[in-house]
Symmetry: C4
Amino acid sequence: MTAIRGVGRGDNRAVTAEQATRELLVELLRDFHRRAWVSGTGGGICGPADDGGLLLAPTGVHKELVGVDDFFTVDPADGSVIATPPNTALRPSECNSIFCLTARERAARSVVHSHALSAVLAGDLAGDDDHVAIRDLEMLKGIRGLGNRDVHLVPVIRNTPREPELVGEIQRMLDDPRFAGAFAIVVADHGAYIWGDDVMEAKRHAEVYHFLFEATVARNDRKKEGHR
Amino acid sequence: MTAIRGVGRGDNRAVTAEQATRELLVELLRDFHRRAWVSGTGGGICGPADDGGLLLAPTGVHKELVGVDDFFTVDPADGSVIATPPNTALRPSECNSIFCLTARERAARSVVHSHALSAVLAGDLAGDDDHVAIRDLEMLKGIRGLGNRDVHLVPVIRNTPREPELVGEIQRMLDDPRFAGAFAIVVADHGAYIWGDDVMEAKRHAEVYHFLFEATVARNDRKKEGHR
Amino acid sequence: MTAIRGVGRGDNRAVTAEQATRELLVELLRDFHRRAWVSGTGGGICGPADDGGLLLAPTGVHKELVGVDDFFTVDPADGSVIATPPNTALRPSECNSIFCLTARERAARSVVHSHALSAVLAGDLAGDDDHVAIRDLEMLKGIRGLGNRDVHLVPVIRNTPREPELVGEIQRMLDDPRFAGAFAIVVADHGAYIWGDDVMEAKRHAEVYHFLFEATVARNDRKKEGHR
Amino acid sequence: MTAIRGVGRGDNRAVTAEQATRELLVELLRDFHRRAWVSGTGGGICGPADDGGLLLAPTGVHKELVGVDDFFTVDPADGSVIATPPNTALRPSECNSIFCLTARERAARSVVHSHALSAVLAGDLAGDDDHVAIRDLEMLKGIRGLGNRDVHLVPVIRNTPREPELVGEIQRMLDDPRFAGAFAIVVADHGAYIWGDDVMEAKRHAEVYHFLFEATVARNDRKKEGHR
């Protein structure tokens, strides 16, 4: 974890911010693959480019193998591609429109797209409802703005055949005042989008939300059997 | 993961394709061992040799310890051994006949044989039926040709005392039009064979099918208890 | 695990005890992060400084990224800061008052604060009671002073909005003769504090208590379903 | 995994067999710790010394930190210590008498003592009976002499306050013709002893038995709920 430590300790001054971000994104994708949050080429991440654009991982590739030069740069205003990677076989991630929407609506400079099983099982808990409620967990404090006494509502939307078709429902959830404090949207049967002001906040939020999903699923299993 | 990154980034031009494949197979076996898909010498993998043959891991050895020179080369037409490894104590994997059958019938150039617990538990779900149905998961898109609205049928066959005796049932499943879209066959009480056009597709399919098995087992547990 | 092996094998004589402790704490935080005991900046650790003080990890940072120079030194008598790290952006952990209390009451020179899911689920088992009972496990011997026939009571206290507010209840539990043999306090919905005479005992106790939590939760699940 | 690969590939001819065994034991202890089979100083391993003795790990130390020079050499005929490690603070493992008994009765040259949760939960399945039955799993073939149609009986004995007190019950199980094909004995509430003719067979048996324990526990959970 060379790059991530550099970011953590501020000793990467010799490289540009964007180069450090590229190295950090590559390390996080490897870490997320090890955790089974991105696997079989699924999932993804974006982070800030130097010029106000977003660095976007390519689609259809094994995410733990993405290299520092493999990112697209896109304009969050409309998702248009500003810069392409040297490897001309690569295409930008299908997450592009959702990442850009989140960047515009929430000023997110980094978004993680997870395919973790815990996110899928948390989405199942919503049933016919449009959210899952998370409560009674200290780890809620790991989400910016929350305390451990808050009941945190995470929106859950239906899946669509193609990822860009999720945009309308995601827009509706981002506009919904009940979810103003959420830094994540769960897509049922699919996974979750989790964001932050920068890559390190997106990483922290990703770790926290996955913990919250696992804990809520584990407790729900036990409650249904009368354990609590 | 030196070799796997070389394959992913195309910077292994100085070595032959077969040498890169051997290094990749060795790395994948170590990764699969870490995931508990191959353990206690069980499981295996094959990939393409330069001359149209299949590189086949040896039998009865700890799979995470297989070296680049330890593979047999076999003729997929009949499973006959074309080339043997320098270590004369090694014998070809019992998967040979099944790997060659899959290569002939599906043009698979790489097959993974997994002994994962999730494959065994997914096989249990078939009960007296000859397949397990997988649905409502975005990760279905990770299987070539599938969308997330498809109901994907994975054939499940009974286990036999010796691995080559599975060939007849596997042939029958490969001939069954219900399973024409499957890149995997589950063997009850045993594991799964998972294949692709090349090693990286076999890897992607292996990651995806193991996720699908885990998710389907986890959801079935909850459904039986009325959670969904 | 360079530092931890040095401590284990006594070959770090060229560095001061405190420097070796700093390296050990850094390695343990990385290990604990890999185990999901500290994640999303949660959790923490302290260990002995050379001058009788406690080395305290900073708050609000990704714990696997803490460097050897990032620790505060605090006086366990009152929690006052004796020495600050060069990075002036860092603030001392909110665990400070609890770590110091444990140091005073139990002569603990090292305390681990875990946010593990297993600790949360073990806390759930207490229900309205103020402890969870652990029994019938050889691993109880891993706690100083215990045999495998002992019924070990681990206190469980309610969570509070802020960590320093836990001090009163922790003091009450440390004073309670029923819990005189405990080296851990579970905070419901939150995690656990686990301590020892030195860093290596705190590490051993942390490994043992997490095992005891996991085993007790797993057995309780099965008992409730009539498996035992 | 330098040493383990050397053993696997036979390229350690420059070092003595015992030195290679010491390096292998050290690597396996680190691997077992990562798997949570030995933690909090619990568990252990022995392997063959050059002179017919057994190399025995020390007691009460973190097993992942054991170094190549930290082993005792004991005489399997009576457990007497033939050679001590340079570090005079170390004492021989409490497993000594059981390891030596297994060496005498089964000609085992390597024994693994696991504290894995899966072994504890498998022991729970025995209830008032003296064994757990394992069936319908291909991985049974990973145990020397077994086929996948065999019903394999693994003896389960009660735990005792101190490890050497297990010797009588272990002797009785080793003498019981029902368990003649077993390479493992489960100690309820405690873990398992698993052995082989050499270190690599003990490693293979350890991987296989832990898989069998996990699979049998997972299937029993589902059967009790009517899943199978």
